[in-house]
Each structure stands twice: as structure tokens, then as C-alpha cells.
Subunit: 459 residues, 3 copies
């Protein structure tokens, strides 16, 4: 099935209208709140339960990769599960209780059940002395160990005595679990959207991203798109590596991609470019953020962060960037118990959702066109396209957008190129292009003016 | 006839000397003052009368294009002429009189002769409420209408009564008129200089440009130049389009070009680059402005402005920039009765003239040369070219210019390249090149050192 | 003998360790102090004596080029020597005495022995009225003349009387003398390091450079290097020209080069790029200076300065930059008697030495490598390469360096490229690369992983 320029234009106009609705922010927040209490790690029942919640909204495909499977340089670890954990003082009071916060146990802690002195206990406790009221989030996936995490004040209150320490966890052969959802578009070329699903009760990092992706995918159901959209809900690092290992051939279809995390707070937005630096996704998202009126930050690629580390490894070098609000590691709530549901809001989730949808919208509809009357300006007035300007000091942005599209549409410059050069929003440029196309002033191909079937995709 | 490098150099030295004289500013001002009172529009006798004034100084060729002629997407409109217009109150007093200012009538107003209420009249009146003492300039070329323009205070003083409204104009088949002057140079390659000639009594916009071009062309008579210079005095938009439509083939000869308007005020100077952005004209004028000590502004191309819109349409994409003092639309006098002869001065006209001449000078003489002693520095001292520097802390600019020319003249870098890289004025670099050439240290071609005929033009 | 990547790495690690020692600054200062009193010029016994001092530390090859030899556009001048010079007042007191400072006589002054009035004398006196206590340094190599240089106060104290003026100099056929030392590396490709040796008692300009090069060459003896290092001790301009004229063919081997002068003061450091602008030496030295914590200044090439003028003349266009502390001509001591031994310090000489050694180190060891596990990240943890980061907010620079090297090592980007893109010091990047190579994660060639013989040199 071919996709003509008019279709494409119509399609896109519908795209934003169908996807962007006021209530999306509330819906994302509600799902984030549902999955917040679950104790997730890189393997185990927490991930399964989370994927079940997503599945209640979206026809998610769930994959399980057995312990011991080799995925490039890595091996799927044993599966970790935890039922309970606590520290009791000599009076039998639980001074630390996993039931109150799953951050209290370092992820992948081996089982333990013993009585030890405070001094001994302290060797297995993580706190944040500079943020004495917060519980830190800690992991030890590949070094066998156990530890409790607690507020520093809590630790300081502990007296010299013998404590009963119990972690009722298991570390056994099992599976790594991840979820995948494919929205089929008109081509096999893919847009990858990936969120890590391995952190426990941290609302922003990454209940927010998981919930946003779920609702984005859910709303795309039935929507015709140029690209196919692959949504991944994977445990960080090992999950992305497992997916790439099992989809090496298919990964070549990925033309654009985003890793999405921490999208519910009011910071940023922050976009870290892909390793390529000037990929269409980099240009599209930079454009949308620049015109967003928010205090956006565009960063160059660096090899530290989330799963873009794997997607952008030199053997794949996929055009995948990272979208966040506040950048990881730059805010006091990061990886602490302060990253709870009060830290994210429906409004910020909606904002983040809209920025992602607008970026997808650019990627979907960017193409180069040709002015059908390239010699001198077409007379816009006689077509009713030009507001009379004799008496106006300010030429309307719409008029300028038409002039820009006409002037630069020589088949080599795409709408995004034109939007960037004119410093006008993509949607204004596209609207002008649509109007001009309706009036026969713009065609998708210099070879078949007026009757072309395929917009010239910009690589 | 071939143009050797020495000739070329001599030529250029004479160029500036012959063209730049103190009294040019006064002469330009005098012509601007002569044509200021004429009521011009895009067609009609006002343009003819203006061209006659120019013709009294320059052997201008005048062209007339009949109404109805198709020029690309446009059609030459009916010819508009006006004899008189006024608004009389019930006492018979002319409260608005075309004879006092031709701005009082919206250009291309259809004839009218009627008695109407104030309320009815107001529908046909343009004012500037924020500049209540000024008459605005308004047009309605392609939508049949009529209107008066007046000072807002004037409008506020009108009482509720019946007014007699007369516009004694005609809108009939006729011609579009434009003027053209070609200064023949040693090659057929052309430098286009274009001014719009369609505005009524607006001194800066564009009596100034029309008068400047006339005197520039007049002073070039008999002067040998590398390029041919084509001066166009055309009604804005439709005039430029008509010229391009009738000269499509010839337009390929245009290697450089300038649209000139609003050159008599003390603002800027402002240069808007051609669509190409890095054409020789863009680099030359930017260089001259950067070294001018004025508060010059260099702007990137945009598709709104004067006739560069047509010359830079994608089907032509000619290397034509826009030279102005204050940028259109940025000053309070723009398109109002305050743009009168008191707004322009001989001094500023002279300054503008000189900047254009210097830019032409760069275009005329820029070329790449070869150092004839490229291995190590030539010994300048034994040729008397180097001032003794043993005791001087500051090396004279002249010495530096010679060193720069010698160091970079490997046949790939032109004098303008060298001027830009060294951040020295082009004229200093050229003078150094002339001196070095005189001493046999610089040649125009690596193939025929010392005996070359053609300077290597820089594209 | 081939140079494998491991060898290369080892080599470089040793390089810095062997060359950089605390006492180098003192040693350089001591040699500068020994040669400071000698009256040097572009020819004559002063140069010979200076080269003898160097020879006492280094197996220098000394060349003599006869007067009258043509070297490109220049001719070797007559040899100048001076034994004594003074001005005596009528009472027989020496009011100016060459024995007190060899700056008192303009270099290349012809012999004179006469009695003249103060007015007559003044025509042959150079002073610095704005620095009245300092003696200026002056030369007149190619115009026969004589002059005294003195403090302005000294001149003002002279009374109107007759003075006996004696310059016991000679200007006769002889030789231009220069020194050359070649450190042979594993290839014939050369790194040129050049210092001018023609200035009299000016400590910074250039006893400092001459002494630094001597000790650098001395410490490289026996050290295996990739490049061969050619040290030149040449009279300014004419010496460099003579060397180039006699080594035109060999000069093609020069892949990198530095002119070194004024390296003992506390200013800068200043690096002026080669004419090429982006040669490896330009990038390497810019990198080292940027990471030096000193107030370094990187300047674009200009054709005025020291012997880089000759090396970078268009017929050679060698990749040779200029390294200094304070830039010539920018400090009050420049070319005056204030440029004495108190103006330079062992600390600054050591600093300069270290910067040059580190730059050489970059040039020696820069190469592009390949990540042997390019698909997804290698699991650094299981190799003990990754510090546990679960609980650390700041990822150690070392970890980041490993990630950068792994991510960018696709065979196209060298360690210096990676250092610049990551904004990490080259030595940190190289250390990470060494560590990764030791663990088999990095190889020098994609064609022969793990077993390659030749690092891919970056051009």
C-alpha cells in the first residue's frame, strides 16, 4: 500500500488530534500509581506483576529468557525474589521493615537470617548522611552480598545491642522477563521506544516512563502510521542486551528511537542525543524542545545513562536518544525514597507525553517537497492564501511560513530543514505546506508534479 | 580583450578613485528630492515621469509591458493613474486633499465620487492610532477597493456629518513601465543592481535607492570593468517578475547582485544575504560592512523583503542580497509621511554609496594569486619592501599584509579569503598584493609565473 | 622491527616516566645561565661558543655554511664578530661599555672609531623613552649601519661634548653556523623541534628554549620512539632558511614540529597553530594546554613570529606550531635588558618542558583501536574493571574513560579524538585503553583482533 503525500498530511493532522487528549496525564499517573508499590528488580515476580498490569491495558507480548542464557558478553543471572525482610532489636521491635518500603533491602541481596552486633550490622547498611531522612536505592546484581538501606537518622538511633536480621529472599535459576508491543505501521521500518522496568518503588524512575509508554502505545492502536512502533519494557542493561541479542537482525530496521525515563517531574525536559548526533530523532526532538517554551536542555551523547548505552554501542550504533525531564543524578530525589508519587504529577506526565507525541509527529511527516511554481513567487493573493499586508506592520507567521516553504522547497530540503532554518515551529511549517499542497503549489516529487505517490523521506 | 593581472589591479585602483567623490552625496540627494513629489505606483505616469528624470542623467532604456501579459504566475495589472482626490465637509472645506500629500490615497484606489456619512467614510480610512500625526502608506493592487489615509488626529477631528468623497483615478488597460541600464564590462557576466520605483512620496523608501543607483551608473560610464553591470528601476514584485520573465535566459549571466532600498537614513547599514548564503556578494559585502566602523548588521536570508524575494526564488536562486541602512519595518518612519526628505541626508547617501562601491570593488578585483618564491619567505628587505623592524614593537599593518599575501597565495586562496583570514581590510590586502606583484613576487597563475594573462577568478 | 600496540603502550608509559623528572627545570636553568653571557648574532663566534656548550651535553652535529651561499631567495651574509665597544666622554670615562652588556651594541654594527658630537652620536643611539631604565635589543643584519643601545636615562645624562666612539667589530666572509641533533626512532618520519640561537644576552628569548631543547634531546637518548626527533639550533630566519634549503627533500619526512622560544617566564602558555590549523601537532598541543590548568592561549596561525614563518611558508607548509609562555611582543621585558636570568625560573622551565613532553607523548601514542565486543557493552564487572556504582552518585572518571573508549573505538576514532569528544585528558583515555587492551577488550586492528602488529596511525 502506497502512502501519497495528501494521505500523509491528513494522517498527521489526525495523529496529533487522536493522540493528544487532556486526560492522558491522569491516566498515566493512575497506572504509575498502580505499579509503584511493586518490588521490581532485573528479574523476578515484580517484573512479571508489572507487565501484567500493563497487559491489562495493552496486548503486550511477554518474553522469558532462562538463567544462564548467553547474551553477547553477558549471562542471564539467576532470578531474584523476595518475600520479607526486617531488622529486629532485642526487644523484638522491627526497626527496619521491608513491608514499609521495598527500598529497605538492597536489590539482589542474598538470603540472610542471623543475629549480629550493631557494628557488624553497619557493614551491611547504606544510608545518605547528607540526606538523613531518605532511604537510598541500592543494588548488587553481580556481586553476591546483602544489605539494608535506611534513613541515616534511623541508623543513628540504633543502640549498641544485638539485632535479628532477616532477608527472606531467593536467588535461583529462573528467567529474565520483559515485555514487547509492536504497533504495525505502513512500513517495516521501526521506531523503538524503550523504558526500563527494573526499579522498585521509585515513581519517577521509572514508573512514570513505563506508564507513559503504555498509554502512548494504547492510544496508537488502530492509528495508521508510516513507521512501525516497537515498545520495549525491559530490565535495565541486561534486558536491553537480551533483547538486542535475540533481535540482532531485526534491529537494522530501527530508524529512530527513544529511551524514556523519569518523565513525571517538573525539571528539564532533557534530551541526550544519540551517538550519531545528527540523526533525524536528534533533530526532531531538539526542534520540539526548542519550541516548547520549557527550559529544555539538549545534551551531546555520552556513553553513560540508560539503555541508550546498549542501543548506541558501536556494533549497533542505533539512532536512539534519551528523553527525560530532570537528568538522572542531578536532583536530590534521584535514587531515594523521595522519588515517590508526590514527586510526579499528571500535568508533567501530560507535558512529557505531548513532547514525545510531537516528536513522533515530526518523524512521521517530515519529507521534502517541490514548489510547483519555482520561478518567482506564486501569486498567493489570487488564491486567497495571503492576507492583505498593505497596512500591517507584522506579517503573520502564517504568511512567513508559506514564503519559507515555497522558497526552500526545491526537493532537497525537508519540512524540518525549513522549520529549523526559518526558526518556526514544525507544525506551523507543515500547516503551511498542507495549505500550499491543497492549492497545487507544492508537490511531493519534482518528477511527477501533482501526481506523486511517495513523499521523499528524508533519511 | 584579455585582462591581465596588472591591468586588473590598475583598473581597480582607478575604480575607487573615479567613483568616489565628495559631491556624490549631494547629487544623489538632489535627484531624490526631484523625484520625491511624484505619485508613483506599480504602473502609471508616476513611474514614467520618474524614469524620465533618471533619463535626464543616464541613457536609460525604458520598457513597457502591456496589461494582461502573463509573467510566470502573475498577470500585468491594469494601469492606474490618479489626477485628484479629496474629502470635503458639508461646508465645502477640503479636510483631506491629495494635492497636499499623495499618501492620502491608497494606491490603486478605484474612482469614487459620492456623499457619505462619517461612519461610512471610516470604513475607507486608514490611520496610525499610535502615531497620530502621521499619514500611513497603503496599497491595494490586486483587490479592487478605495481608501483614504490620514493622520489619526485628523480623523478624530471629523464631525458627524455628510462628506463629499472624490477620487479622480482610472484603472484601465495600459502598461507596466520599468527602466534598465547596462554598463558593458569586459565580460558578459553580470552584476545586477535593482531598486524598486513604485512607492510614492517616501524619501528613503525608495527615492534614495533610485537616486543612488542613477548616480552610480552615471559615474561608471566609460569605466572599464570586469563584469557588466545591469541597473534595474522596477516596480516592486510585479516589475521584478516581469523582468525575470522576459530575461530568463539572460538571468544565468548574473553572478552577483544587490537590491538597494532605504539608503539615506543613518541606521544600519544592514545587509541581508542571498539565499545561497556564502555567495561572493555575501562575503564581499559582509567584509566591507565589518570593516566599516558603522554599526552594521549582517542577516541571514529570509524570503520576506524586497525584490530579492523574486531573484532568490528557488527556480532562479540568484546570488542577490539586500542592502539597506535601517531594515524595513524596524523604524517608526517606515511607510509613513515621516519618511520625507528630512529623513535622508547627503552624508548618509554618500556613506551608502561608498559601501556599495567598495563592495563592487572587491567583486571586481578578487582573485587568487601565487607567491613566486613559495619556499621560505622572500627577502623583502633587499627589495625595499620591508620597513626595518629591529626597533619597532608594532609591525606595520602593511608588513603584515605582505606576509599574509605571501603566505597564503598558493593559488587556492583569493585576496578576499586572505583578507578574511587575516582580519585585514581588503584594500590593505590588495595594496600589498599590488606591491608584491610589481616586484615580481606574486603572479596570477602558477602555470605561467610572471607572464599570465588572466587572473584566476574566484567562483 | 615492528611496533605492536602493546609495545607502543608500554613504550609510552615509560616515556613520561623516563623524561619527566623533578630536576629537569634546574638543569635547564643552569644551561641557560651558562649561555646567557655569550654575545650571539646570526653568525659568528657567539653561536659557535653556544653550540660548544650544548655539545658538552649532547652529541650535536655542527654545520657551517659559507658566506655567499644562496639559500632560496637569501644569501648567507658575512660573518660578524665583535671584541669590544664603548663610548668615552672627553674625560675618558666609558659612559657606555659593551663589556657590561652585549645589548649595548646593535647587532651587526660595522666597525667604527671616531670622535663625534652628542648630536651626531644621538643619530646612532637607540633607547626606550617609555622604559627609561632598560637597554633595548636592536639589529641591522642587512643594512650596513652601526648604533649603540642604552637606557634612556643614560642618554639624557650625556652632556654636550665630544665623544670617542669605538666599535671593534668585523664583518667578513666566513660562515653561518648551526647545530643539529637527530634522535632516531623506529620510523623515518620526523618530529622537528627548533630553537633560534641568535639572540645575545636575553634569557627568555631564547637561552630558555635552547637549554630546554638540549635537555629534552639529552633525556631522549636511548629511548625507543615511534618518530625520529630532529632538534635544530639555528640562527633565526636565515638559519632556518639555510637548513630548509639544504634539506628540502628530507623535509617531507617531517610529520609534526614545534618552534620553541621564550619558555622560562610565567606567562601563557601560548600555542600558535601551524598554517594547516588542524594538524595532529595542533590538536595534540591544544589538548594538552586545555587540560593544563594554566591560563593557556591557543592562537590561529599568523605569518609573523619565529621560524615557523619559514617552515610554514606555502612551498613547505610543514605542520609546525610555535610554543611559548608569554607571546613575543606582549610583555614589557621583550627585547630589553630586563629579559635577564631573573626573568626565568626553573619552575616555569619545568612546566614548559612537561607540556612539550606530554604533547610528544600524545603524538607518539595516538592511534585508533577497535572494541573487540562492539555489540552492547562488555560486562566490565566480571573482569574487575568496573567499580561498583550502585551506591555512588559520581561515576569515577576512570569508569567514564573506559565507557568512552569502548563506545567510540570503532577503528575510525583515535584516542585523541576520544579524549577531545569526552573532554577527558588524553592520559586518562590512554590509561583506560591500556587497561581494556590488557583485558582483551581493545585491539589495534579490526582485521586481526588481538594479534595485530601495527597500530593504525592517525594521519
Amino acid at each position: 500500500m502506497s502512502l501519497g503525500p495528501n494521505d500523509s498530511m491528513e494522517l498527521q493532522r489526525d495523529f496529533g488530534e487522536q493522540l493528544i487528549t487532556r486526560d492522558v496525564g491522569e491516566a498515566i499517573f493512575a497506572l504509575a500509581a498502580r505499579i509503584f508499590p511493586i518490588c521490581r528488580s532485573i528479574t523476578g515476580n515484580g517484573v512479571r506483576q508489572t507487565l501484567r498490569e500493563i497487559r491489562s491495558q495493552l496486548a503486550l507480548e511477554v518474553h522469558e529468557v532462562p538463567t544462564g542464557t548467553e547474551v553477547f558478553d553477558w549471562t542471564i543471572p539467576r532470578e531474584w525474589n523476595i518475600r520479607d525482610a526486617y531488622i529486629k532489636d532485642s526487644a523484638g521491635n522491627k526497626v527496619v521493615d521491608f513491608a514499609q518500603s521495598n527500598l529497605h533491602v538492597m536489590s539482589y541481596s542474598v538470603p540472610v537470617g542471623t543475629r549480629i552486633s550493631l557494628a557488624e550490622l553497619k557493614k551491611h547498611v547504606h544510608t545518605l548522611p547528607e540526606q538523613p531522612d531518605l532511604i537510598p536505592y541500592r543494588t548488587s546484581y553481580y556481586a553476591e552480598d546483602w544489605a539494608f538501606c535506611m534513613a541515616h537518622r534511623q541508623l543513628e538511633d540504633l543502640r549498641e545491642e544485638t539485632y535479628e536480621v532477616v532477608i527472606d529472599s531467593s536467588l535461583e535459576d529462573g528467567y529474565l522477563t520483559y515485555g514487547e508491543y509492536l504497533h504495525k505501521g505502513q512500513t517495516d521500518e521501526e521506531f523503538l521506544i524503550s523504558a526500563h522496568v527494573c526499579h522498585p518503588s521509585l515513581a519517577n524512575d521509572n514508573c512514570s516512563g513505563v506508564a507513559l509508554l503504555t498509554h502512548l502505545a494504547r492510544r496508537m492502536v488502530g492509528l495508521p502510521t508510516r513507521y512501525s512502533y516497537r515498545f520495549l519494557f525491559v530490565p535495565g542493561t541486561i534486558g536491553a542486551i537480551a533483547w538486542l541479542a535475540h533481535n540482532e537482525e531485526n534491529s537494522r530496521r530501527i530508524k529512530h528511537g527513544l529511551v524514556v525515563s523519569m518523565v513525571g517531574d517538573g525539571g528539564g525536559p532533557t534530551y541526550k542525543k544519540s551517538r550519531r548526533g545528527e540523526a533525524p530523532i536528534d533533530r526532531a526532538m531538539s526542534h520540539i524542545l526548542r519550541h516548547s517554551r520549557l527550559r529544555s536542555v539538549i545534551e551531546e551523547f555520552s556513553p553513560y545513562g540508560y539503555d541508550e548505552r546498549q542501543y548506541c554501542s558501536p556494533g549497533f550504533n542505533l539512532p536512539v536518544g534519551l528523553f527525560q525531564r530532570s537528568k538522572y543524578g542531578t536532583i536530590s530525589q534521584y535514587h531515594t525514597s523521595a522519588d515517590d508519587l508526590s514527586f510526579i504529577t499528571p500535568e508533567h506526565l501530560l507535558e512529557s507525553y505531548n513532547l514525545i507525541v510531537k516528536t513522533i509527529d515530526v518523524i512521521e511527516s517530515d519529507a521534502a517537497y517541490c514548489n510547483t511554481i519555482p520561478k518567482c513567487e506564486p501569486q498567493l493573493g489570487k488564491r486567497g492564501l495571503y492576507r492583505r499586508i498593505g497596512g500591517k506592520r507584522d506579517i503573520a507567521t502564517e504568511n512567513m511560513a508559506m514564503l519559507w516553504v515555497l522558497n526552500l522547497s526545491d526537493g532537497t530540503q525537508s519540512l524540518l530543514d525549513i522549520a529549523d532554518r526559518s526558526d518556526l515551529p514544525f507544525e506551523v511549517i507543515r500547516r503551511a505546506a498542507q495549505l500550499l499542497q491543497t492549492h497545487g503549489l507544492l508537490t511531493s516529487s519534482p518528477l511527477a508534479p501533482g501526481g506523486a505517490r511517495e513523499p521523499r523521506a528524508v533519511p
